[in-house]
Symmetry: C2
Subunit: 398 residues, 2 copies
């Protein structure tokens, strides 16, 4: 049996519009918090992976984002590798760090993500919004999709309409995702929008792309999140509560073959299958999950793709209350992309941070009752075939 | 003992100014050549890493370069991860692929690199040159170094002047690097500049940044290179001549502490040490090497940093003829960055392609005599501390 990797330290910045902080400052803050949590110094880090989805456009840093960000906190000399994989960038960083440990090459690895999506306050004009759309669109084919005008809200709106037509999913069910995740965020001091909202507010908000209104969409966010992993033996030196990486899965889009493909994200289905198999668990074993709710419809479809409920049942699964904080399978206790915020390349690592806090019992007012197995999931990018990349990670207390 | 990864297929595009080919076409051509070499179909690939150093600036592709590039050749569904690590981007791709196999997760992995640095012919104006400088500068700190004007030619010119002053290295010795690598390139059908040059031509060329003239500098190049790796057991099913990854090392810059630091690249020294240790060999065991000659001075300093000769002896080591094609330790038989060309993110993979051909005995007119152990080395990026990333890989026939 291969040796396992375990999470021994986690940290993040507040997720918000950090007008006055750059990639370096955000990186330093998240990593420093994780080092303190792990009772480590920078010299304990043997290699690092840094997720950054949109290099260069806002941040002025592109080719060596990892090295530039980590210098200030003293993580130097060691291998540092930057990964760009759309919204899954730092989920991939965690996975690569686990591989590096499992392969026997390293004992302690840093996996993190950082993103600047917001410019300085004096630059935050209507033109900035166009800029934001432009650089987020780089998660799709820059020559085809961008040229012909498909955007992420447009793509997910089509998925929502199809799901509504085929399975009877309603806008109210989608709205409940936003209401739940905003409610959870009120108990998360790191969240961008820790404010209660109502179903009526969601339904009556300005439409971004029908049927998705403003509150069905995740916001623009700056932030960083960091996870320190160690081999099983070494982990026990640093913490009494190691959280193990029990399984991971990653997949990319394949060509859409049927009309039904629009209402599922095949990369998620494939990544989940791989992760469950490695962890030797089934969806029913999950105690708590962080799921990619870039749009409200996404969370409903992902309930199905992750095997939490049957195909087409996502809306009714939401109605059942199972995914509420006090339900049997709380989803997005940290507030999700919707309300914790979505600094693109940092989101995957932030999910692992939240699940680690939950499994340790350190999640404060939003603590789920005695969770044993957690799941994180990100979905990113858009190819003409399908979504580009999904990553699923299973974390366990034992 | 952990299971080993072996190279079972290699392929590349011609390195040149591909005015009319984009990231997709270059990727497809290199991967298709590697698949044919490995007697594989796209479905045999279980995961892929794609090195791309300068996403978005010229290519219009940024967030999911790997997925976009690989769709056309039918590598879909599997995990695809894009790595940006300056000139070492695809060296890192090869290393990550080896980790994924060594960790036991996968049996067959694709590692490749692709780069567009040249715009379309009608756009190739004087302004393009400024554009090229701008995007190559993204390998440094976009807020500090770029603002204050340091460029890569400037940095390596300072290193050259210091090496000349301290160790008596001459411009003639540097010129010999360019002459040797151009000579080797005349025998490489994939090379961008397969033309003989003379020492006088190098010395009398226009100065880019003293003491570096035009022929001391590598060119702008488009291209792609691909390597298919398999676990040891699986490798034997596909090829009678697997080439093993015996050791790898990677390191980032640390803070410069002494005046002497300018004449060495510490990341190279650290990466080489790690790779030699894992492979259980010494520098004297190397039969053939591909070394990062971004500027002529770089190759001389790297002779020292890689342990081929003593500190300060790089120039005289060049004079000895040892690194010529017929010498005891041929360096850059493929023509190096100088004459094969330097499509930034593709260079590391191209080095592994060349060493594989050499170790298999398939290098044609530039074949080195019966090599047993090969080395590849890239150096990339610039932080205020040091160069940002060096990767060394040791490949063996047994």
């Amino acid at each position: 049996m291969k040796r396992r990797a375990a999470v021994v330290g986690v940290g993040m910045t507040k997720f918000t519009k950090h007008y006055d902080k750059d990639v370096k400052e955000l990186t330093e803050e998240a990593v420093w918090n994780a080092l303190q949590d792990a009772h480590m110094t920078p010299k304990d880090i043997q290699l690092a992976y840094v997720g950054n989805a949109v290099p260069g456009v806002v941040s002025q840093q592109a080719g060596i984002v990892g090295q530039i960000g980590l210098m200030g906190v003293g993580v130097v000399g060691v291998p540092i590798t930057t990964i760009s994989n759309a919204c899954s960038s730092s989920s991939c960083a965690v996975r690569e760090a686990a591989f590096a440990i499992e392969s026997g090459h390293y004992d302690v690895a840093l996996a993190m993500g950082v993103e600047k999506t917001v410019m300085r306050k004096e630059e935050a004009t209507p033109a900035t919004i166009a800029m934001a759309s432009k650089f987020l669109s780089l998660g799709a084919d820059g020559q085809l999709e961008n040229t012909y005008g498909i955007t992420f809200p447009g793509f997910f709106a089509m998925a929502a309409l199809k799901h509504m037509a085929r399975y009877g999913t309603t806008r109210e069910q989608m709205a409940k995702v936003a209401v739940k995740n905003h409610h959870n965020a009120t108990m998360n001091p790191y969240a961008q929008y820790p404010t209660e909202i109502t179903i009526d507010q969601v339904l009556n908000a300005d439409i971004v792309c029908y049927p998705l209104g403003l509150y069905d969409c995740c916001p623009l966010t700056d932030g960083a999140a960091a996870v320190i992993l160690a081999s099983e033996d070494v982990a026990k030196k640093y913490t009494d509560t190691p959280i193990y990486i029990a399984g991971t899965g990653q997949a990319s889009g394949v060509y859409r073959n049927s009309d039904d493909d629009m209402t599922r994200f095949l990369p998620t289905i494939m990544a989940a299958k791989e992760a469950y198999k490695e962890a030797k668990i089934e969806p029913k074993d999950i105690s708590v999950a962080e799921v990619h709710d870039c749009f409200s419809i996404s969370e409903l479809i992902h309930y199905e793709d992750l095997g939490f409920c049957k195909k087409g049942e996502g809306g009714r699964f939401m109605d059942s209350g199972i995914t509420q904080l006090e339900g049997k399978l709380p989803v997005n206790p940290g507030g999700g992309l919707k309300a914790r915020g979505h600094p693109v390349g940092a989101t995957g690592a932030a999910q692992v941070v939240e699940i680690t806090w939950q499994l340790r019992g350190e999640a404060g007012k939003r603590q789920v009752k005695n969770p044993k197995i957690g799941l994180t999931h990100t979905l990113g990018g858009l190819t003409h075939a399908d979504n580009a990349v999904s990553v699923v990670t299973i974390l366990t207390r034992k």
